[in-house]
Amino acid sequence: MSEIELPMSLEELEVYFEEELDEQLLDFKKERIEKGIDKNENKFVWMRVEKEAFKDAVRAIAKIQTPHLSVTSGSDKGEFVELIYHFAVNFSYPGEETTINLKVHLPKDDLTIPTITDIVPGALTTEREKQEFLGVDVIDIPDDRRMWLDEGYPEDKYPWRWDEKGMEDESRHVHENEETLEEPIAERSEKEGGD
């Protein structure tokens, strides 16, 4: 592809990613939403790539403009964990900014993803978060310490997992905790004089 000219339209982005990623691009969806009386368009791209081509996809985005990574969302979808990297390109061009939602599926038996901090240094916070909350192993992450969860939180449990490694059970039965059962709630509020 020749020199990239900014801002890129959704159609140009589609052609660009098809050329860059070829068969590794599994899914590509363009989306426009109108806002306000003047009908300004908000532009979105939803795309999914093969896990092997993930880093190439990030490199392709980085070629467009110094990428802005908003955050990485992640969720447990049963058989696999889905990560969505929310990038923004075309910023600094009024009305043209496009959110690129880059999806990648990680099978439960191989929960690994390469780090992108060599391309986007600002991605470190969100990569550390994904390690803690979903149990995804970020390969070559420059800093793999725990960031958000309490030190006492079990090492092999992950709050956003819905399988046996999640914390579903603990959170659902907090009210059955022995300490709270010692004294019925009605008696306690009477003693404190409150409602």
């Binding site: 908000n42 075309n90 600002g122 916070t125």
Partner: protein, 415 residues
């Protein structure tokens, strides 16, 4: 971390400090007075709100989302509702878009005025803290008049808002805007003109344009470095696409895009005027019509319980870009996935380059310069890594260091 030739100290600052809102810890490595490394440790009070949201139906998450933050409660409510509206194709009415914009800009005025007070306090100007926090009451009164609440406004709903801004409110809105415009010169005189404040903010805590871009920083923190990123302009939401708005960067006002604390102050002050103009424009242009496109909440909730879709809500919060991601699935009545990203999350990474090479007495003002939505320091503990001896600083003592520096620097200034 081992000390180099016995001169490097590790100084954990945090996690509790009454000057800022939430608990937060930064571990500093010092060589004498000079900072050689800064390592932020968030998560001191991780409440797991996203997890809670993923166990509630979509309607119940609206009030939960505004409780994410005390100052930008509107911001999170807006992001959550727009992300969900995006996911299930709900179109808010145009009148609602304007009301939302007015509320969000009022909140920006509130947040920036509050920040100016915190910044003044950190360098020892408590008179200015009391002045700014006094004038901040006016906008809170107006927010209360419109929404019924001073802090958690409960204004948003899917498809629009819950309360109208009627014509009889216009005089009070205009009066409030005039009040701030009348005080603006004084604010600028204090924060940009005062020689002592200039000495404490100029060329302190610099974030270069390159670092700002690479570290994905957001908001006034990066605009002060000359980075033109503002979601209100780049990807206009609510009514911003209809309004006259431009990037607030120092070079627009004949200043250099340095990225120091002074530039960040300048950007925030100029944004107060920008917000006032935007609110005026909204009040003038506000179209007639309904305030929500989904008046039947019970029917809507029923629909949402089996709806399928995903959406993102991005916004330029007072502290910078923030976003929510929401997904609903057919077989899950609750919100299936909810990711919240506040501005400070991205700006955390910008701390390291800003602190590097600065002095210990500058820690409070640099920490405050990104307008963090987290607490700062209650107690600083200085550990000699070679002997393991500990020395404790209370927040007052650390604050005193900062105040003393201001006094030292004010000493040689000709007024």
């Amino acid at each position: 971390m081992s000390g180099e030739e016995g001169t490097t100290y590790e100084v954990p600052i945090g996690p509790i400090h009454p000057a800022l809102k939430e608990p937060f810890l930064i571990k500093f490595k010092l060589d004498g007075e000079e900072i050689v490394d800064a390592d932020p440790h968030p998560g001191m009070n991780h409440r797991g709100i996203e997890f809670m949201g993923m166990h509630r139906n979509p309607m119940k998450v609206i009030p939960l989302s505004e409780r994410l933050c005390g100052i930008c409660s509107i911001v999170h409510q807006h992001m959550y509702t727009t992300a969900l509206e995006h996911a299930v194709d709900i179109v808010p009415t145009n009148r609602a878009r304007y009301i939302r914009t007015i509320m969000m800009e009022l909140e920006r005025v509130h947040s920036h005025v509050l920040w100016a007070g915190v910044a003044a306090h950190e360098i020892g100007f408590d008179t200015h803290l009391h002045f700014t926090w006094k004038i901040r009451e006016k906008v809170m009164d107006l927010l209360e008049k419109i929404s019924g609440n001073r802090v958690n406004y409960s204004m948003w709903t899917f498809g629009g808002v819950r309360r109208d801004i009627t014509e009889d409110m216009h005089p009070e809105i205009n009066e409030t805007l005039d009040y701030y415009l009348g005080l603006y010169d004084k604010l600028e005189d204090i924060f940009l003109g005062d020689p002592s404040i200039r000495h404490r903010t100029k060329d302190i805590g610099i974030l270069t344009e390159e670092d700002a871009m690479e570290l994905c920083g957001v908001g006034p923190t990066v605009r002060a470095s000359g980075v033109k990123k503002d979601v209100r302009i780049d990807q206009p939401y609510a009514a911003y696409g209809d309004l006259d708005i431009d990037y607030v960067v120092p070079s627009r006002y004949d200043y250099e895009d340095v990225g120091d604390v002074f530039s960040k102050t300048l950007v925030r002050l100029k944004e107060i005027v920008q917000s006032i103009n935007l609110i005026r424009e909204c009040v003038e242009k506000m179209p007639e019509g309904e305030i929500t496109s989904e008046p039947n909440k019970a029917a809507l909730l029923n629909k949402l319980k089996s709806a399928e879709g995903e959406g993102v809500g991005r916004i330029e919060a007072p502290r910078g870009e923030a976003m929510h991601y929401v997904r609903l699935t057919e077989d899950n009545e609750d919100v299936d996935c909810w990711k919240v990203r506040a501005s400070t999350y991205n700006n955390l990474a910008t701390y390291a380059p800003m602190f590097l090479g600065e002095q210990i007495a500058d820690i409070p003002i640099i920490a405050a310069s990104i307008d963090p939505c987290i607490g700062c320091m209650d107690r600083a503990e200085i550990v000699d890594v070679n002997t393991g001896e500990k020395e404790e600083y209370t927040d007052e003592e650390l604050h005193e260091l900062s105040v003393q520096k201001t006094e030292r620097m004010s000493g040689g200034i000709d007024e």
